[in-house]
């Protein structure tokens, strides 16, 4: 089976671990082999968190520089920071709502303009889907569903060969019962954003 390498970049607390688990569960439902790797511990204290998910027949659980087929970004500046993971054929799907690092507030560095960052990314990779996933998550009922909005965009982009039915089922399996409807709604809003983009 063809190997697809997906990197998820986020800031600690944005829900990338749950998003990875949903994709893993969906892969099982679709009969796609999957392996993934994540980093816990000190990095979770508001730092950058990255998960690697390898679909298909490869054995490795991590992804080397320049070898991501898909980059899923939860935060626009983190997508730029992770550009070294991408090559000219990489497809990028990202949230555009910034989460400014604290270092900016204390004057250590400047947060770049989001539109400018997005056009610099677009020039370098195969294609870029950039949506305000945070706004859509709020529309779905909670900013915490931003991770699922992005999964909707990822599946609708067709970059990953998982079926939407399996991802929806995985969401119902992994999300807390009271939040399943909200998350499914978030997923559909993410899909819709790609269809109209």
């Amino acid at each position: 089976m063809e190997t697809t390498r997906l990197i998820v970049v986020a800031v600690g607390g944005q829900g990338n671990l749950l998003a990875s688990k949903v994709l893993g569960e969906a892969a099982l439902l679709d009969g796609v082999p999957v392996r993934m790797s994540e980093i816990h511990g000190m990095a979770q204290r508001g730092g950058v968190v990255e998960s690697a998910i390898v679909f298909g027949d490869a054995e490795s659980t991590i992804i080397s520089d320049g070898e991501a087929d898909i980059l899923l970004g939860f935060e626009p500046s983190e997508v730029v920071r992770a550009m070294g993971r991408c090559n000219a054929r990489t497809r990028v799907i990202t949230n555009t709502a910034p989460l400014r690092p604290f270092t900016v507030a204390i004057g250590q560095g400047v947060y770049p303009d989001v539109d400018e960052m997005m056009s610099l990314v677009r020039e370098r990779v195969a294609d870029l889907i950039a949506i305000d996933a945070l706004a859509l998550a709020r529309q779905a009922g909670s900013p915490m569903t931003m991770n699922i909005v992005l999964l909707g965009a990822l599946i609708a982009s067709g970059a990953l060969g998982l079926s939407r039915a399996s991802v929806e089922k995985a969401i119902t399996l992994r999300a807390k019962k009271a939040f399943v409807e909200m998350n499914l709604n978030a997923f559909r809003l993410g899909e819709g954003a790609v269809a109209t983009a």
Binding site: E38, M42, A43, S60, T61, P101, Q108
Partner: protein, 617 residues
């Protein structure tokens, strides 16, 4: 029911490596488990703790790794299958019992999980614990994948009982923190109690006994060598005259590299899963007929040196390489491209590495280092110490925990971090060897782990420094595990006795003991000034629950603050305490109401009293 107690046999489930190992232990019928938490091993302990609430498994968070292993040694010599878990540096703490326990052995399976951390994602060093197998003369097993980690845990218990010796199960972060599908197998019922049969000539390690026990250990090691040579944990895949010998996650990268480089039929791989003792005859047989051998292992050249020694014995002169300037490094961790590239180079295969996108022209992205949380009590304490010590020629040894992050500006509290407990003992040394005022920081869990002995030393030797015990009532960094100071009743775990840090400190005869509530800024600074002025050992206990933990227990109801129009933009709030709830918008300071927990420290330091509780709409 805990998900790892699922009886759906043969079902495939998505598990984290640490969960897979926990399930493997449950399938093996582990009856007794001890640990001191440490990343990357922490979730393994957490799962067994949770499982122990639902089964007969006995589990404890021990005071430190040495204690954990000694408790485990007793259980495993009472006929109870036992697991003892720690991160790699934890095994240094437990090294003393480890080495002599190898002499004594065990009567039931004892698996010691050591989680190494190549690349130091959350550790102070990246040393290679396979050497402990050689040092102690114990078998070492190393899984390559999450699936195998579960199976190997079960095998490790069996091997331990076959040999009557503890077995080291050595993982790396990429095993502990990877997830994959794992097939559930039957579970054995845990039996947490057994019987100890006295045998002084086997258990009382006076020299006359230990001399005999060392003979027994070497005999066991010889048996282990024969088992390693026959073990299906060591196996060959592929065919060819180019040889690869590898272990752990390197095996996965090597498999992918052979496929990516199209080297099927040219490269054969010997995967070592039972790595101490090394399978001598299997290796000699493998290298015979190879043109070249590449040894792929993260960390130190443990296998490489063994393979070279075996080759010498077998009079083989083929090139054998692993660690070299133009091949693999002892530093950090490996990745698939690195292994592919080095394999191509060593075997003279044409290869063009993937090219990353052009980075030139991309804006510089501001750093996003890990930070103390919003409302973290450590931030308040650091700020107050800094104010109280202003003008002093002071230095600040710190320790291992969330509060290590206090070394970052603008708090800049942390000048020397060595290992668990060393803040106190190094303060003894710095206060004697320099003329500086020494103020050391240690957390509650680390104080119990190995800070107490340093404090005893300080009192006995009449040292002169101030120790600040940052008591947030939990082991926070590794994910909120209990420690002996924690009120377990509050978390609905009856049957524990909580120990008062204040009583311990006073009972040691510390000359000056102060308790502060760090969210009361002025009062705390005054109390700290008094403690710093004391000649001799003074201790400040700063008590305030971890905000994250308190929120989780619903003991803390966040009450957000806001910056009102009175703000004259001094920016003391962001420049001096650096709470991540602050942000700038159009050049004005704001507080993110979603993350502010209302500790009110910023409100107390604002020169204009411009920071006020946010009125509820």
């Amino acid at each position: 029911m805990h998900k790892l107690l699922s009886e759906k046999i043969d079902k495939e489930v998505l598990l984290l490596g640490n969960e897979a190992i926990a399930r493997g232990a449950v399938e093996a019928g582990v009856g007794f488990a001890t640990t001191y938490p440490g990343t990357p091993s922490s979730e393994l302990s957490l799962n067994l703790f949770q499982i122990s609430q639902e089964t007969d498994l006995y589990f404890e968070y021990s005071t430190n790794e040495k204690v954990a292993l000694e408790v485990a040694a007793a259980a495993a010599n009472s006929g109870v299958r036992t697991m003892c878990m720690m991160k790699h540096v934890g095994l240094n703490v437990a090294a003393d019992p480890l080495v002599t326990l190898a002499y004594i052995g065990v009567t039931a399976g004892l698996v010691i999980l050591t989680a190494d951390d190549p690349a130091m994602f959350s550790s102070q060093n990246e040393h290679d614990n396979r050497y402990y197998g050689k040092l102690a003369g114990l078998p070492v097993l190393e899984p390559s994948s999450v699936e195998e980690a579960k199976e190997m845990t079960r095998v490790a218990f069996e091997l331990s009982e076959t040999l009557g010796e503890p077995v080291l199960l050595r993982t790396t972060t990429r095993i502990n923190h990877s997830s994959a599908f794992v097939t559930l197998k039957e579970m054995k019922t845990p039996i947490p109690t057994g019987n100890f049969v006295p045998n002084p000539m086997g258990y009382v390690t006076v020299p006359a006994v230990s001399r005999k026990l060392h003979v027994k250990l070497l005999e066991n090691l010889a048996k282990a060598a024969a088992l390693s040579d026959a073990s299906d944990l060591n196996f060959t895949v592929g065919d060819g005259t180019l040889g690869v010998i590898c272990n752990g996650v390197s095996y996965l990268y090597a498999r992918d590299a052979v496929q990516d480089l199209g080297l099927e039929g040219q490269v054969k791989i010997l995967r070592i899963g039972f790595s101490n003792p090394m399978p001598e005859w299997m290796i000699k047989d493998f290298i015979n007929g190879c043109q070249k051998v590449l040894v792929i292992e993260e960390g130190e050249p443990v296998m490489e040196e063994a393979v070279k020694a075996f080759a010498q014995e077998a009079c083989e002169t083929l090139p054998i390489k692993g660690k070299a300037d133009d091949l693999f490094s002892r530093l950090s961790e490996f990745d698939p491209a690195m292994v592919r590239e080095n394999m191509a180079r060593f075997f003279d295969i044409p290869y063009t590495p993937a090219s990353s996108v052009e980075k030139q022209g991309l804006p510089e992205i501001p750093q996003r280092p890990p930070n103390l949380c919003s409302g973290c009590s450590h931030r308040a304490t650091f700020y107050e110490i800094k104010k109280a010590a202003k003008g002093m020629d002071a230095m600040f040894p710190s320790d291992i925990g969330c509060y290590t992050l206090g070394f970052l500006p603008p708090l800049s509290m942390g000048d020397f971090v060595l290992c668990m407990g060393a803040s106190v003992s190094s303060a003894c040394g710095f206060s004697r060897a320099t003329n500086k005022k020494v103020v050391a920081f240690i957390g509650d869990s680390t104080f119990f782990h190995s800070g107490i002995t340093g404090l005893v030393n300080a009192v006995f030797n009449n040292h002169n420094f101030t120790l600040v015990i940052l008591d947030n009532g939990i082991t926070a960094m590794t994910g909120h595990q209990p420690n002996p100071g924690v009120d377990m009743e509050q978390m609905n775990f009856p049957g524990y006795t909580s120990i008062s840090i204040e009583k311990v400190v006073r009972s040691l005869g510390v000359g000056h003991v102060t308790l502060i509530k760090p969210f009361k800024v002025k009062k705390s600074i005054a109390a700290i000034e008094e403690a710093l002025a004391f000649e001799g050992v003074s201790v400040i206990i700063s008590q305030e629950p971890c905000a994250l933990h308190a929120k989780g227990l619903k003991l803390l109801k966040p009450r957000a603050f806001t910056v009102t129009d009175k703000c004259l933009d001094h920016r003391d709030c962001i420049n001096e305490i650096a709470c991540p709830s602050f942000y700038l918008d159009n050049g004005r300071v704001h507080i993110d109401a979603d993350t502010c927990v209302g500790c009110a420290v910023c409100a107390q330091i604002c020169p204009e009293n411009a920071i006020m509780p946010l009125k509820k709409k």
